[in-house]
């Protein structure tokens, strides 16, 4: 990014922002695309063998951060699970009720079954509820930091409650 400074010689001129504020009225478009710029960044840094700055190893974890990566984790996990199920459906012999009977015959305790149901329901409910939180952000609501934390707590609480409720069904 190239920055050009210019001082106003006329006395009595007041910038509407602070002395170092940027007035985007004078924005000039670049000749390269964002993608090209990103590739240039990675090419240069890989070529110079630059180490990555420590980030997750040193940065203090915050609730929004943890919730965000959990959202991604549950998404990837659920997607992987669905893909696994789809492949299994095509590859494995027999049909679904047969495999259910197989699990039946293994006679797990009721607590284990309830726990398994909770373990299956939690990623779905957390991902769904946090997804709704994301959609709220997408329509522009809830960006103030206290609201971010508040909605985060609501999502976490509701996820646990919903999962317990589903596990008891």
């Amino acid at each position: 990014m190239c920055v050009v400074y210019r001082s106003m010689a006329r006395p009595g001129f007041h910038a509407s922002r602070s002395q170092f504020g940027v007035l985007y009225r004078h924005a000039v478009p670049m000749g390269t695309t964002a993608k090209e710029e990103m590739n240039k960044f990675w090419d240069k840094n890989n070529r110079l063998n630059r180490p990555m700055s420590p980030h997750i190893t040193i940065y203090r974890w915050s609730i929004p951060m943890v919730m965000s990566i959990t959202f991604r984790g549950t998404g990837v996990g659920l997607s992987g699970g669905i893909s696994l199920f789809a492949v299994a459906a095509m590859v494995l012999p027999g049909n679904y009720p047969q495999y259910l009977d197989l699990i039946h015959s293994l006679s797990f305790g009721p607590q284990f079954l309830a726990f398994t149901k909770f373990a299956l329901a939690f990623p779905v409910s957390y991902h769904t509820l946090n997804g709704i939180r994301h959609l709220m952000w997408d329509v522009g609501k809830g960006f103030q930091i206290p609201d971010v934390y508040r909605s985060g707590y609501v999502v976490m609480a509701l996820s646990v409650l919903t999962s317990i409720g589903l596990a008891c069904l």
């Binding site: 990014m1 190239c2 920055v3 050009v4 400074y5 210019r6 001082s7 106003m8 010689a9 001129f13 007041h14 910038a15 002395q19 170092f20 504020g21 940027v22 007035l23 985007y24 004078h26 924005a27 000039v28 478009p29 670049m30 695309t33 964002a34 710029e37 990103m38 590739n39 990675w42 890989n46 991604r72 998404g75 990837v76 659920l78 997607s79 669905i82 893909s83 199920f85 789809a86 492949v87 299994a88 459906a89 095509m90 049909n95 679904y96 009720p97 259910l100 699990i103 039946h104 079954l113 149901k117 769904t128 997804g131 709704i132 959609l135 997408d138 069904l169």
Partner: protein, 156 residues
């Protein structure tokens, strides 16, 4: 007295822009006593067709599509509970596969860099998503279907 400090020439030589900013701040600091406000201009990316000529709305439409599919999936949840059957099974298969495909696509965009690696990752994802959709449809057709499968699993 107008002082024009152009760092553009410095930038063209590939100087670390951060250093330029610091350098500039130093300059500004020196002239702080004069208490002159400064106009800053900066180069930014714009997508206005008048400049770049390639004002494609593809990324924007993709974003909107992602949100639409998410909302449809939200609606299909209760629908699957109250009206299970093939009329919900197949849309559920399609929406799940597409939502997952685009979601993993965003993960790859975030973490995979380099043109050939990006291409390989996206091709693999496309194959995986196709297989996923095929498998879910196969399950819907030849087996009990998604809604019934969840119901059976939960009632065991």
């Amino acid at each position: 007295m107008a002082a024009l400090v152009r760092l553009g020439s410095v930038c063209h030589r590939g100087v670390n822009p951060l250093r330029s900013v610091l350098h500039a701040r130093l300059l500004v600091g020196q002239q702080r006593d004069a208490e002159r406000p400064y106009l800053l201009t900066t180069k930014i990316h714009t997508s206005t067709p008048s400049y770049s000529g390639s004002g494609s709305k593809a990324a924007s439409l993709h974003w909107t599509g992602e949100r639409l599919v998410s909302i449809i999936l939200l609606g299909l949840g209760p629908l699957a509970y109250f009206c299970p059957g093939p009329l919900v099974d197949y849309p559920l298969a399609a929406t799940l596969a597409l939502h997952g495909h685009w979601g993993i696509g965003q993960v790859l965009t975030d973490y995979v860099h380099g043109d050939s690696k990006i291409k390989m990752a996206n091709t693999s994802l496309f194959i995986l998503s196709t297989v996923t959709f095929a498998g879910l449809c196969y399950f819907n057709y030849n087996d009990v279907g998604i809604c019934k499968a969840v119901a059976l699993l939960w009632n065991k």
